[in-house]
Symmetry: C2
Subunit: 572 residues, 2 copies
Amino acid sequence: MRVSQLFLPTLREMPAEAEVVSHQLLLRAGFIRKAAAGVYTFLPLAWRVIKKIEQIIREEMDRQGGQEIMMPIIQPAELWQESGRWDVYGPELFRLKDRHGRDFCLGPTHEEIVTALVRQEVNSYRQLPQLLYQIQNKYRDERRPRFGLLRGREFIMKDLYSFDRDEAGLEISYQKMYEAYTRVFTRCGLKFRPVEADSGAIGGNDTHEFMVLADSGEALVVFCPDESCGYAANVERATSPVRQHGVTREEMPRPLETVDTPGMHTVEQVTGYLGVDARRLIKTLLYQTEKGIVAALVRGDREVNEVKLQKVLDVLRLELADAATVERITGAAVGYAGPVGLQGVPMVADEEVMLLVNAVAGANRDDAHLVNVNPGRDFAPQVVADIREVRAGDPCPKCGALLKETRGIEVGQIFKLGDKYSRVLGATYLDEHGQSRPIIMGCYGIGVTRTMAAAVEQNHDENGIIWPVSIAPFLVVVVPVNHRDEQQMGLAEEVYRELQANGIEVVLDDRPERAGVKFKDADLVGYPLRITVGNQAVQTRELEVRYRASGETRLVPRERITDHVREFIALA
Amino acid sequence: MRVSQLFLPTLREMPAEAEVVSHQLLLRAGFIRKAAAGVYTFLPLAWRVIKKIEQIIREEMDRQGGQEIMMPIIQPAELWQESGRWDVYGPELFRLKDRHGRDFCLGPTHEEIVTALVRQEVNSYRQLPQLLYQIQNKYRDERRPRFGLLRGREFIMKDLYSFDRDEAGLEISYQKMYEAYTRVFTRCGLKFRPVEADSGAIGGNDTHEFMVLADSGEALVVFCPDESCGYAANVERATSPVRQHGVTREEMPRPLETVDTPGMHTVEQVTGYLGVDARRLIKTLLYQTEKGIVAALVRGDREVNEVKLQKVLDVLRLELADAATVERITGAAVGYAGPVGLQGVPMVADEEVMLLVNAVAGANRDDAHLVNVNPGRDFAPQVVADIREVRAGDPCPKCGALLKETRGIEVGQIFKLGDKYSRVLGATYLDEHGQSRPIIMGCYGIGVTRTMAAAVEQNHDENGIIWPVSIAPFLVVVVPVNHRDEQQMGLAEEVYRELQANGIEVVLDDRPERAGVKFKDADLVGYPLRITVGNQAVQTRELEVRYRASGETRLVPRERITDHVREFIALA
């Protein structure tokens, strides 16, 4: 392809609307354009990247016995009513009516459709297992779509659904997908990590997320530095053994006392003023849920893990109570809540809190705290559970080594669904003994357009994108330095045609632009290799090859160029 | 792939819901399943066919310089309001609101989105021409979805949009697409015909439809039997020179008379009763339009071509007036309307009507007709135009040979849009002289899923589908006759693996079923080749190859089988 003919509108300026680097660069480099909030058009280069990612996914799904199908995007409401999700799924579900007034939604996921398909066609254990997948547009009406392709309202997903006879079969399907995902992201040239995750609203038990590692990632991950252990988890899910920090059971409980702490609202202020370690403080937070107000207690150095708390409480909605509610419940301003004497709200204490001796807590009175608070003696929580957020430095739950932290972008997730959907939708089969049993399911997603964006977040520099070779829109750009020089243009054209004839994906930047503009665009677009054809090349028949990732250049004899590019691909 | 593992639910019974053969066979052969009215899931074999058709289309679009992109399915209403189509497009447009109450639609076509994209990115004549295309789900909320994939509400289309500097450029783009479409349908192995067509609601001037020829086709096509002439047109559009049939200008006008025609409503009744040729009768039809009632006159042996009439009248809505309206306007029951003395409605007469001498027409009075009616003398239509439907036997408008008729399924259409969208959406460019000019557009669609269905309509017999080789889901099925015979199973497995290793798309029917069931399924699914492995094959090492299209069989030595299959592909 000639760049003069390519629909590749690069921008000089940084687009004001873009907050994250993948959004900025994909706009600037002419890959995407916004059609509406969270809705994009993929221009030719983006579409080439997406098709490559899709093909890698397809091959790895097929390798595991997956069969590709295509389900509808518009889904009848009846099935969602049958599964119960029509009412539960909130405003994120795009809903519409047809001309006869019948309700439909735009699929955010396809458990209902695929389960209804399988219940109709599968009757016998002989027809199981089945792995069915599709690669398709998905819809989520995000309240605030942003970060370009990382949180859009229309996006491309691969979703595979597994159907097995029993949990043992599901375990096999799950492991197949774990392996397939590992291969997919490896082949995409990405640094990533599978981590234990929370199963969220889709339900089910075991689940892993595949995180592309990037400092800009929204997700925080903790992992064990011991490779042989391999523990890694989303902090939403991560656990860590309880340890007593500097306060042991050997200390004797002392009598409860009230101390004045005027104007001291924060953990830092209180511990600094009283001269105690934050780990001796009990932090008391009030949350609003659909079941009413609850109090959550964690140690002063800890944060509440709201995903864990939500699960413990079995609530759909969880948010910090407002100041007025705190005052009404505790009788004091925010910053002075404490468990002792707190009336009328259930209390959930983190496990670590229960190990404290002679702790500090708010007195439920303005400008006052209690010291020598002893859990059990001075207050009794309704629930004791793990509700704290794990962080770097906490011990690994598997091997005890100190955990490390990293940030990531979730690009894939695999779930064990069990019989959640098959039971409610009646997808059963007859086993070897003629007995009816629910089909055991799993579901497995990869965000295709998100993977493209994550690749950019992970692989870029100040000049533009650095595409991994396997998903680059084109591998090589050939740049004649002076478009008015016939010899340079002739040699560039010759090299371009030779590479093309050898099946190498190459563009020729034949635009009547200054070399600087073309070099800048080459870096911005992120072709892995740039071949520059200047005067020297014409005279010495040596071509300058520049490697986008390292920034290095090398002179390659004209007649070696195709072999050189092939060797580069082989090594990538 | 092994058939035992394939998600391929064939049905013994003819599905009651299916009216046309492609719908029946695609359901029975396990290719598609209905998810809602006009909304289907494509199972693995259908998806393989669709991907092959898509790939052929992609290669032919790219060959002409097309660049593949992907535009959103959900489109913001603003652009449709800008183009004016938000109000004009009726209930066929699926509309929805997002969580903030903003209006969107599901794209039935993408002129607005692509024109808005190009107006933003293209400024100079240097950036033209551009051919941008996508292959994507499209949405039309048909009042009565039916005929399976032939008239669905969600379907896959390839839509390409061309952007040129001027009409001459458009002509080149149009010819490129004409050629590309010809190559696409040829490569799909289909018998088809490009025909002149009506441009309908999308607007524009020149347009051709590509018709897959099939007796079940909804469209009627007339064509010139003289190959060197090549005229072919949808009857909606077809013209034919005016001829006087058996009534010539030599006959002298006679005085107008009223005759009793008690109970004679139809052309047959009246002409039979009066003993005159139907070609001497004037048929008068009243139509309701948004501009009011109009009368349309055609010769008694003719039908009104409503598409032509709609164009002549420049109306969006056109339907036959009801009986009450006819009585109110003509003063007589249906069957007695005529042009003489008809008051208060404009009259459009077909050209042929004006050549009649001493014709018969309704008297606008119950049970009476007029004879010796002479146009010009007895009535004067407001408009004289070509509003008749052409049929077989009419002369070719290009060469005068007598036209023939055939039926077809429209699978593609190419349009010259001109500046219809670019002008209203402000897509302009600066020409060589710095002058702003509207971009000249064309649009070009192929119904991908419709092409699959049309292939079945054209290629089937009483036993099932007969896939053209280039779009067959698999080329070969290997069928061991007795699944309990180890030698047969072993040889079948060996042949299957050899073909697979040689890149031939093959399935092994390893199911524990009787041979008859497997043969029936092989015919139903429509694999081009069936290789049967029975006792004879084990003993003589000769395999029976059966050709689905011809039904013939041939014995092929075991060691020749891969070569034989390859030769078959090469000849296809």
